[in-house]
Amino acid sequence: MTNSLEMELNTDTVPSRYQNINEVSTSEYKAIKLTKFEPDEKDISIIYIRLRKPSRDVRVGWLIPAISLISVDHDYSEDLHFIKYASNIFDKYKDQAIDERTYFFVWFNETVESNKINLYDYILDFTKFGIYPLESEHSKYINSLSLRVTKEITLQKRFDFRIFNGFVRELYSKTLQNETNLYARFMQIYQVIELSMDLALQAKMMEFKDSRKHMGIIRDKLTEYFKEAKLIGTVYDFTNNSNDITNLRVEANAKLKQSTGKNYSTERKEVAIYDFRNMLVHNYYRFKDDVDITIFCDHIERDALDILTKMTEEKYYNSELKARYYTESAK
């Protein structure tokens, strides 16, 4: 008996219009698989990469859910470009059993190579849409803050998670896809915040050292940064402040205000995150049935990505990340 989420791309299931490889050789296209918990055949998108120097958007390929390859009901079934890319995927994966949660990111190789793009630097940007890298198992989780896939997506540069070893690698290749225990999920993602706070403290120390200020001043100011509440603020300066955090504020006010006395409608986001984390660590068994961990999980998943992205771009942080967390080959 086959898995009920399994499908096959074959001459019977794939519409004949997607089975024609005409003008271009399939070796000129490459594809990787991604995964999304609730696949939608309408999640078809043209993918652009934003390059710098000079700043421009380059069209590289398509995002195509596997289930859209067995349907002519979506809006792209007669689009010649879509048909060409779909045919390439069919040629590559014909007669293979594929999980319905599979999404294909397929690109035209010449465009990518001529612009010297490492597409793995951009893959994690798909997580904003609830689409994760497929390294081992398919996604069992949907982030409630996931954006809707639009007809065109311009991927922001993130980082190649494969150059990390240990925890960060595991987060993006396994944890985010598979961890459905919300307590465990929150704590594992929060490790990125912890790691970042550690680096932030190191960076502050270097900053003070370079400033060559009076030791007394350095001692006073540095002491503040030994407090996690302060450090998390530094780390959260790296995040994207345009995300709507209304639901987080509401949940924090409902569940934390009584014990902390804070008004989370006016506090910065990381104050709620930090207090929530402390509540989980110290008082979980008192509150576990009463708290919706999902909202906090989903927010810090987004935040962690922004934080790591910024850190890989900042010279000092990147050198520290490299020294501590990159694989030997990436160092």
Partner: protein, 390 residues
């Protein structure tokens, strides 16, 4: 050489069952022609591998294989009214276009292969290698289907849909009254309400038998048993494939008679705000709306449910109701609008549309329902329920 060994009347499917022996060479000749003339029966099971190789070796060693079961829907007359003769059998077997292999397809492939690989060996045998065959004479399509299901359950896993394709392949590129059944899957060939894709009609009848509008590619033994039970009930007479097609077509004709040559307004400005769609409308004319898999399967599943709940007795009952429909242009605009909303919400668009159509037809023809024969209300109710289900 053919030798009849036994003749029995099968009272369930109302047909004669003739048991006979046939030499391997004659059987190979006939079965090759049967398989060539039925495109859906051609495929060899991919994973047959060592089991069928073993069978071939066994046949060569003189092993007796279980009887092959054939069915003939030929109208050839018998020599005598009482009992068929060997000559009758030969005539029926030679009318190979009317023959279906009900049981023993993979064995037939093995027999053909082993004979063709060793023809001189078999031709020179002192005692001919004989094969036992059972042939149902003058059996109806429903009878064939019933026997196929009951014989195939538990054996080589063939979906009901595949069996329907084999059974009704005679309608490929054929006509039923003014209805044209087209083989090609390219939607460009469906240009009038009289044109139907063979595959869509099979989908629809499959949905009727299985009471399920959604495509299921996998063999499901429990579903098979339920379908057998449904078919074996006497009250389900007159629910043949052709009856299904004619009933559905009469419903489309009623739309066409009320709104002849209807097309979706070409200018978006001419569409009322309440009916505007966010993407391409589902169907810009009647064939594009109704001569497709989604409404046909939805119709099949809905009617099946109504028959089971005894809201209607069968297709004849339905034909009467269809004559009472009052249809307006806004109904088709509303249908497109609702389908657009369902599409927006559905992760699998085709499935969402099938669910919508099942709910629509069920609401429309349910005598006990509040939107009985009211198209607009049926559409609205269908949309509400479909949005919750997708």
């Amino acid at each position: 050489m053919i030798k009849i060994t036994n003749i029995l009347n099968d009272k369930k499917v109302q047909a004669k069952n003739i048991q006979f022996l046939i030499d391997i060479k004659s059987y190979v000749e006939i079965s090759n022609k049967i398989l060539e003339n039925n495109p859906f029966q051609r495929k060899r099971v991919k994973k047959s591998g060592s089991i069928y190789n073993l069978l071939k070796e066994d046949i060569k060693s003189g092993c007796i294989i279980p009887p092959i079961v054939l069915a003939s829907s030929s109208n050839l007359e018998l020599e005598s009214d009482n009992n068929p003769s060997e000559k009758d059998i030969t005539n029926h077997l030679n009318d190979y276009r009317s023959i279906k292999i009900l049981d023993g397809l993979q064995r037939t492939y093995s027999i053909i292969e082993v004979y063709e690989e060793n023809s001189s060996y078999f031709d020179e045998l002192k005692d001919e290698y004989l094969i036992r065959v059972e042939l149902y004479l003058s059996i109806s399509d429903t009878g064939i289907l019933y026997r196929m299901l009951t014989l195939n359950t538990g054996q080589t896993q063939m979906t009901l849909r595949h069996q329907l394709e084999i059974l009704f392949s005679k309608y490929l590129d054929a006509n039923i009254d003014e209805i044209n059944i087209i083989k090609e899957t390219d939607n460009g060939s469906i240009s009038t309400i009289n044109d139907y894709n063979f595959s869509d009609l099979i989908d629809g009848y499959n949905s009727f038998l299985e009471k399920n509008e959604l495509p299921v590619d996998r063999f499901d033994i429990l579903q098979n048993v339920k379908t057998i039970k449904f078919m074996s009930e006497e009250k389900n007479d007159n629910m043949e494939f052709v009856d299904f097609i004619k009933c559905y077509h009469s419903m489309i004709k009623s739309f066409d008679q009320s709104l002849p040559g209807w097309v979706y307004p070409s200018d978006e400005e001419d569409v009322d705000e309440n009916f505007k769609t966010s993407s391409n409308p589902f169907g810009k004319n009647l064939p594009k709306i109704f001569n497709r898999s989604q409404p046909i399967t939805g119709f099949g599943a809905a009617i099946s449910e109504l028959v089971e709940s005894e809201s209607i007795q069968g297709f004849n009952d339905l034909n009467t109701l269809i004559g009472k429909l009052v249809i307006s242009e806004d109904d088709l605009l509303l249908l497109n609008k609702h389908l657009d909303d369902v599409k927006e919400k559905s992760k699998k668009i085709g499935n969402g549309q099938r669910i919508f159509f099942r709910l629509f037809f069920k609401n429309l023809f349910d005598k006990d329902g509040r939107s009985f024969l009211k198209i607009e209300e049926s559409l609205d109710n269908a949309k509400k329920r479909a949005m919750a289900e997708v």
